[in-house]
Structure formats: C-alpha cells, structure tokens
C-alpha cells in the first residue's frame, strides 16, 4: 500500500511537470513548488551530513561521533591532528561569510569571497593550461602525410585516409584558434581562416546536437516507461 501511494504520487508529479508542455498552469505551479522545496531541503541535509560534519566539525573535534570518512582517514593516517589546522581556516572563512547576515559588519564576508575566487583562478590556471593547452598541443603534432602499412607494404588508400584525418584535425584546430583570436579583425586571409574555423565549430555542434537529442529521447522513453509500466501496469 505505501508503495502504491508513492508510485501514484510520483506519477501525478511527473504528469504535473509535463503539463508545462501545454502551458503554465496551477498544477505545474504546485508540482514546481514541491520539487523546489523538497530538493532544496534534500540538498541541505546532504551537505550537512556529507560535507559539514565529516569535513569540518569531525576533524576539528566539535562532534563526538566520527563519521565514516573521518574514521577512514583516522585509520589511514593514525592521526587527525595533521588536518585540524587547515579545517580551522575553512571554519573561520565560513564564519566570516556568515557575517553578511549582520549589516554593520557585512563587509567582512567579502574577504572569504575574494579568497575563494582568487585561489580558484590560480589553481585552475595550471589545470587548464596542462589539460586544455599543453596536452592538446602534444596530441595535435601529427604528420600531414601519414603512410600506413598493411602486412609490411604501403597501403595507399589507408595512407590517404589517415592523412586526410590528420589534415582535417590540424586544420580544424588552427582555424578554430584563429576564430577565437581577438586582437585582429577578421578580414582577408585571416578572416577566411576564421570563417573556416566557425564552420568546423558548427559542424561539431551539429553532430553533438544529434547525439544529445538521442540521449534526451532515451530519458523521455524512461519516464514514459515508468508511467506505463511501473505506475499504470499497462506494459508487461
């Protein structure tokens, strides 16, 4: 019986959200409010138990009962002392952030904000440089003529195929970068290369569009399957 009630509720909420396809209506508003309220509450509890407790209060010894992650760390390192100070810094930054609730000293909350944005920008610089630039450069160093050998002898068809692949790849990268070059107007040869670059991008987007539409269709099918099979038992 409880299963039937929850299934019926889930089915009603699914149809209520889907009713937006027709137009905005009171049932959609009702379902939307439930959705937002439940999810906001769910994430609050999730963050409290998965982030605040194990990452902060357990490690600085505020809470008596250690959570699983804190215990795992303790077993591995044999000590909690090595992480306490770092977590205290985080705790202080968090407290400073809450100062914005007090209008007179609300300006203090700008400091942790500046810390987060500044440190993230610095950390990301290295990561992005290594993964998106250096690795990309290394993998793009390809010969424009790539001879392919089958059973020890040169295969002209395979060589032409591989060479064309490399030419398209290298050409796409170079013209794509030219499109995103902001210091020069897109005119003449440079402009032509930039136009080729945007064509490459659009072809890529077209392929990605088709792929994603297919995955969205499978999501829709899964939801209809839930309605017809699990809820209404219309499918075997």
């Amino acid at each position: 019986m409880p299963g039937m009630v929850s299934l019926t509720l889930a089915g009603f909420l699914t149809l209520g959200i889907m009713s937006f396809v027709y137009k905005d209506n009171p049932i959609y508003k009702f379902c939307e409010s439930i959705f937002i309220g439940v999810s906001a509450g769910y994430y609050f509890v999730l963050i409290f138990y998965q982030s605040l407790l194990p990452q902060l209060t357990d490690k600085i010894g505020l809470t008596g009962a250690l959570t699983d992650s804190a215990l795992a760390y303790y077993r591995q390192s044999g000590s909690l002392a090595s992480v306490q100070w770092f977590n205290l810094i985080a705790a202080v930054l968090g407290m400073m952030m809450l100062m914005r609730l007090l209008p007179k000293i609300g300006w203090i909350s700008r400091w942790p904000l500046a810390f987060v944005i500044g440190s993230i920008a610095g950390l990301k610089l290295i990561g992005e440089l290594q993964t998106n630039i250096m690795t990309q450069i290394q993998k793009s160093i390809l010969p424009l003529w790539a001879p392919q050998y089958v059973d020890g002898s040169l295969s002209l068809a395979a060589s032409i195929g591989q060479s064309l692949t490399n030419i398209v790849l290298v050409g796409g990268i170079l013209t794509g970068v030219i499109y995103f070059f902001f210091s020069k107007e897109h005119k003449g040869v440079f402009g032509g290369a930039a136009r080729v670059g945007i064509w490459f991008l659009m072809v890529t987007f077209g392929a990605a569009f088709g792929l994603t539409v297919m995955s969205r269709m499978s999501l829709l099918i899964a939801r209809i399957d839930f309605l017809l099979r699990d809820w209404l038992h219309l499918l075997g």
Partner: protein, 392 residues
Amino acid sequence: MKVKTGVLGIGLILLLAAGAVGQWLLPPLEVGAKDAPNDAGKSLLVLWKLSPSDTKGDKAVEGYQILRARSAEGPFEPVGTAAKGDTLFTDHVPQNGTDYYYKVRALGPEGVFAESETSGPAQSKAQWFNTERVNALLAVVILVSSILYFVYKAQSGRELYIRKIAGLEEVDNAVGRATEMGKKIVFCPGRLDMDNVQTIAAVLILGRVAKLAAEYDTKLEVPNVYSMVMVSCREVVKEAFLKAGKPDAYREDDIHYITQDQFGYAAAVDGIMMRDKPAAVFYQGAFFAESLLFAETGNSIGAIQIAGTAQPAQLPFFVVACDYTLIGEELFAASAYLSKEPRLLGSLKGQDVGKVFTMAAISLGVLLATLQTLGLFPREWVAAFANLFLVR
C-alpha cells in the same frame, strides 16, 4: 669411488625431482628502495632485478610480493604485489622521515616463494618543486608575462584593439529593449559553483548587465543554484547599482537562491519566465541538460536571449534557440570587452599571445612530423619536440 657415485646419484635425483615440479625458484636480485621523486611525500619506490626464474614462457614465477618493516630484523608485513616481469612497486608509507626496510618475494605455484635479501633503510620526503613540470612553469611565465606587459600598456594609456564580438554588442540592446517594454531581465549565472571559471566569467558579465539595468531603472532577477554564487552576484550587482548612482534601487531579494537540484532549478526558471515574461534573458556560465529547456521557454515568450557557455555539449542548443551565443572563449573575453577596463583588456591581449604561441607550436610540430614521415627529419627529434608539451 662408490661414495662419490652415490652423492652424484642423489644430486641427480634431486635435480630431476625439482624439474618434475617446476623450475628452481630463485629470489629477485639487487632489491633497493628510494624516495619517489617529484611528489608530496609518503611514497617510496621499491626496485629489483627480475628473479632468474622469471623468464618468458616459464611459469616458475607467478608474481612478486613486497614486504615492509620498520627495522632490518622485521617483522616484515606484505604491502602489495607486482605482476610477473615487473621490477618496480610504489609503496605508500604512513610517515615521512621514517626508516623503512624491504624484502621482495618471488611467488611460485602452490604457495612456494623465494625471498630476497633485506634492503634499506629508505625514507620518504616531500619535494618542493616538481621538476617534471618545468614546461608548465615556462608556459605560465610566458602567459603571465605577456598579460602583465599588456596590462601595463593599457594602463599607460595605449589603446588596445579588440575585434567586434556580435553577441556582446547586443547586451546593451537587450537591456534597452527590456527598458522600452517595461519588463524585467532574467540573468542565469550557470549551474556550477564559484570554483568554475565559467561562473566567474558569468558573474563579471552580470556586473555590466546590472550597471545598465540600474541606469535604465529596469528590474533584474538572478536565480541561483549555489549560495556562494548568489553571494557573489549580490556583491557584483550591489556595486553596479552604486556605480550607477542608484544604491537605493538595489533589491537584494532579486538575486535569490532556488535549489541545487538540476531540474528543480530548471522548473523554477521556466516558471519565472512563463509568469513574468521577461524581455531579455541571459544564460551565462556552465549549463547542462537544462539548457534547451531554458532556451525553448525563453523563445516561446519572445524574449531576446543571449547565451554564453564553454560547455561543448550545450552550445548547439543555445546556438539554435538563442538570438546570440557566446562560444567558449568569447564568454571569457566578455568582461574585458564590455567594461573596456585596462586591466581586463590587457589580460585578453595577453591571452592572445598565448594563442599565437599555441598555433606556432602546433604548426612547427606538424611540419617536423611531416618531414619525419618523408624521411627528412629524425624521428627522435620530433618525439623530443612533442615531449616539450608532455604533462606528467
């Protein structure tokens, strides 16, 4: 004579018996341990030479077991295993600066093993500098130097040219349209937290939109997914209203939290759009499956939509359903382009220098690789050039 013959006979029988059950199992040789280089400590490399019994096609050795102790006398405890043919094992030790001793066992069939001599002591320690990432340091130095150079140039009054970016030219028009129609502007700063560069770029663009909205007395609503982003957006919008000389017009509640749930957020934003019918909608930052839901809803109410993201999978949806789309790098260039602030313009020009280096490196590498396949250039040199960009 008879005794000698007997001893030889017994030896021969033993040899034959050993051959019947397999090969002689000999221990690995020259076992050693040393600190793992270029790491944050707590790692030791255990190295050895293969057991003479570990030969190709021979099943005498099935693998190796690594044992560790805090003193040469033991007790030794197993810390891991390595496959047959392996000569290296990385041991994650509990403490830096402590002596550790190692033995390596060659493992044979049916629990048989042959143990090496004790090796050590070895201590792990953290390194301040990862020498394998000198190339990344060099790249950062080039990039940051060029950015600083152009920032200096911009601040000394030199005009820096930036080409037109169509999507950004329309930001002012979109805000103006909302003002003329007497409707609000909705700005979605993406669905990731402040630790994402796209969100940071989105918040910077919001500053410009908020300033225009304040100047034109147009209502601006910013629904958020994360509290940190909400706080940042509030700061930026408040500052924009102050700059526009209208601090009293700033309403904190217009920049509000919704939920972290993806489709909960999508349902709420769609609801806001359907009910309030904003004249202009901005989607700037990182978006995922909700992108098309937003863009389609915005399109159905006739709002002018300007999107900007670096999410490759979502760009197609924005391109087809929005009026203007900032593609990838354009999103990051937006704040400099819109504000014309010397520091940001200098940064953008500096990044362009990085792009020139990137194109030059790829072009040179491709040329060398092509010459190599034509037999005009040594293979090793091409590999060495490519390895300049290897990330370890």
